[in-house]
Symmetry: C2
Subunit: 229 residues, 2 copies
Amino acid sequence: MTTSTNSEAGNKLICTVDVVLLSLSEGQLRVLLLKREREPFAGAWALPGGYVHIGEDQGCEDAAQRVLRQKAGLESPYLEQLASFSGPARDPRGWSVSVAYFALVPHPEEALPGQQWLPVDRLPQLPFDHGSIVATAVERVRSKSQYSSLPVHLCPEPFTISQLHAVYETLLGEPINTVSFRRKLDELAILEPVVGEKRTEGAHRPAQLYRVRAEFRQRLRLVGRGLNR
Amino acid sequence: MTTSTNSEAGNKLICTVDVVLLSLSEGQLRVLLLKREREPFAGAWALPGGYVHIGEDQGCEDAAQRVLRQKAGLESPYLEQLASFSGPARDPRGWSVSVAYFALVPHPEEALPGQQWLPVDRLPQLPFDHGSIVATAVERVRSKSQYSSLPVHLCPEPFTISQLHAVYETLLGEPINTVSFRRKLDELAILEPVVGEKRTEGAHRPAQLYRVRAEFRQRLRLVGRGLNR
DNA sequence: ACAATAGTGTCTGTCAGACAATATACA
DNA sequence: TGTATATTGTCTGACAGACACTATTGT
């Protein structure tokens, strides 16, 4: 067994980024998977990802934004570093480090060819360790939803309080008191009302529309004592 | 400008780990710095860190444990992944990714030669981006202290509730209600009393000694609604 | 008018913080 | 006995959850 030295040829280390792009549709949290065009795992559905381009990227977050732009056509969704995954076996090409990010977007109209939005609770086996990466991201998002404004990034603007309420309930998997929810949103002061109103299907009072205030478009807001659940 | 390709020679990517080892002494949160023996920044005080050894390490966490063992002589403190730091400029040797970890230990008797424990609030300029890494770690630890059992790893066992209380107050920087604190510890059920008792300096009732229950030596315990402050 | 959802006002139980009482050591 | 800190018991204010009431639309 060779005593490993710093970073010599022959035993190259691979460095990639992977992005867990999440969205909400049909009452389910879904993740974007792409059909891989190259080996390894060509033809399999996997997370969007790619090599860090050291001539081009100013950091791994840059690389993640580039991957999102090039492979999912997205410009600047809410993006946050998740964790790094590493080891000799996770990628058949060799010892690898993947810096994983997660991003949240309102659900797009339709998936492009080679794209698929699958419910995170019913995923097939994924290549590499993408299964664990998705699981980690989902856990993080559900956890942060308990005490932050993170989920607003899943709502297409403008949205009603009821819509946002439903989003939180889906993520947390249990009912949230509507009165408390409104109170919290008030305290947080991340939303601003939009002039127009909105009417739902049926015959009832229309709901005020809101959008996220610019200051919180990229930054989160943490709540003092959670949503209290 | 070259269109960057995957990971060809000439433009090698560097992959390292860095560890923010934290401890509490004289009422201050302190970080371990080591005098660098090699370039770059030979002679400067910096975080313990090193290359990932792909022939030896089973992952970056392994590498971090190895660094702690070899450079600080520690066996298995509480260790958690912090974040990854990357970019073309953070390391003069080239485009680099560092997977950073933080670890908590009771303050050791004395620093070995070439080691130094400096207060995190009064650090000099550090090489690389070690200043940001430490800042991120401190923020994470302070934040987690609000709602988890993380700080127990800073107390030399066995310890009294009063000691632990002081640790929390130091980390959070404000007084914590003693009654609430005891109640929370009770709920958490992470501590178990040790047979012997302890007497402090003066003349007063001795305090019960506790240690962390084995189940929580490596895992954290989260509190429902924080320590409520 | 009726149905249905949006939004608000008010009461109640729970829990963190304050305060006070008790416990137990050494001097 | 006196002093100092540990530990426990009890009261109180703040706030989340429940409930009920008002608002506003289409049918």
